[in-house]
């Protein structure tokens, strides 16, 4: 689904009528989607974060949806593939530093 349609779907589910309210939420969600949430590998074909979020929110009573969205915006922790990769590289290098025979040394010479 195109971003613009997914955003309209979300606005519909959340009952956002004013453009200001849409602008308050959608750009931030789209930024985070582009940054990491769209990388989630279990979306079906063509489905991405904003559409999936809208469908997830739709299961709740209208009055509860704002709280559910707040949970996603303020509490959700998603560790992306890139972040995992960075962690693995970092800890491999630390291991190499402790045992120089298994790789290049971690610390570079400063001067």
């Amino acid at each position: 689904m195109k971003d613009i349609n997914a955003q309209e779907l979300l606005a519909q589910v959340m009952g956002w009528k004013e453009q200001d309210v849409v602008q308050e939420h959608v750009p931030t969600l789209q930024l985070l989607a582009d940054y990491k949430y769209n990388q989630y590998q279990r979306y079906g074909p063509g489905k991405r974060f904003v559409e999936s979020l809208a469908l997830w929110l739709d299961q709740f009573e209208s009055a509860d949806r704002a709280h559910a969205l707040e949970l996603v915006q303020k509490r959700l922790i998603f560790i992306s593939e890139q972040e995992i990769s960075h962690l693995v590289t970092f800890y491999n290098q630390r291991r190499s530093a402790k045992n120089p025979s298994c790789g290049f040394p971690f610390w570079g010479k400063i001067a």
Partner: protein
């Protein structure tokens, strides 16, 4: 090449520095990861969205990470990035490197080490590395915030051996 190292509540400072960065500059925002608060990088991204992403159209893929509590890893990441970009941009005429540390003291130490070494590496080049910075005019903190703060004390060994060898046996 501009490397803004992002930390909380520095929007006014980064705006000042950003005014001096040309529109065609390549921007590589640096986020803390891993960090004690696993959402910290996400929150910083949102905080600086208007200035770095919405206005400058910085590609998300330009973001890179440095460990928030490990200055030597920050040093290594930043130095590697600067060396890599200098080599790449050299093909199309070269580049100037600009680093703006706005994050924690530990990451700032790491970035200072990287800039120091980059200056040494730059003797054969026309330009070195610049560190533009905007000083805050004042700080405001409530007594409650000060009392509630729990500082983490760190010790860094920049050169030499931490322990004498005879004491290791």
């Amino acid at each position: 090449m501009w490397f803004p190292i992002l930390g909380e509540n520095r929007l006014a400072q980064i705006k000042k520095v950003e005014e001096e960065i040309p529109a065609w500059a390549e921007i590589c925002p640096i986020l803390p990861h891993p960090s004690r608060n696993p959402r910290r990088g996400d929150e910083l991204l949102v905080e600086y969205d208007s200035i770095l992403f919405a206005r400058r159209e910085t590609p998300i893929s330009n973001i890179f990470y440095v460990n928030e509590s490990h200055p030597f890893e920050a040093y290594r990441q930043l130095l590697e990035a600067m060396l890599r970009f200098r080599k790449t941009m050299g093909v199309i005429g070269g580049c100037r490197l600009v680093v703006t540390p706005l994050a924690s003291k530990l990451i700032t130490v790491g970035s200072a080490l990287a800039c120091f070494e980059m200056k040494l590496e730059s003797s054969d080049y026309r330009s070195s590395v610049a560190i533009p910075y905007a000083e805050p005019k004042r700080y405001e903190a409530s007594v409650e915030t000060m009392m509630a703060s729990r500082p983490v004390i760190s010790a860094l060994l920049l050169t030499g051996d931490a322990y004498l060898e005879e004491n290791l046996s």
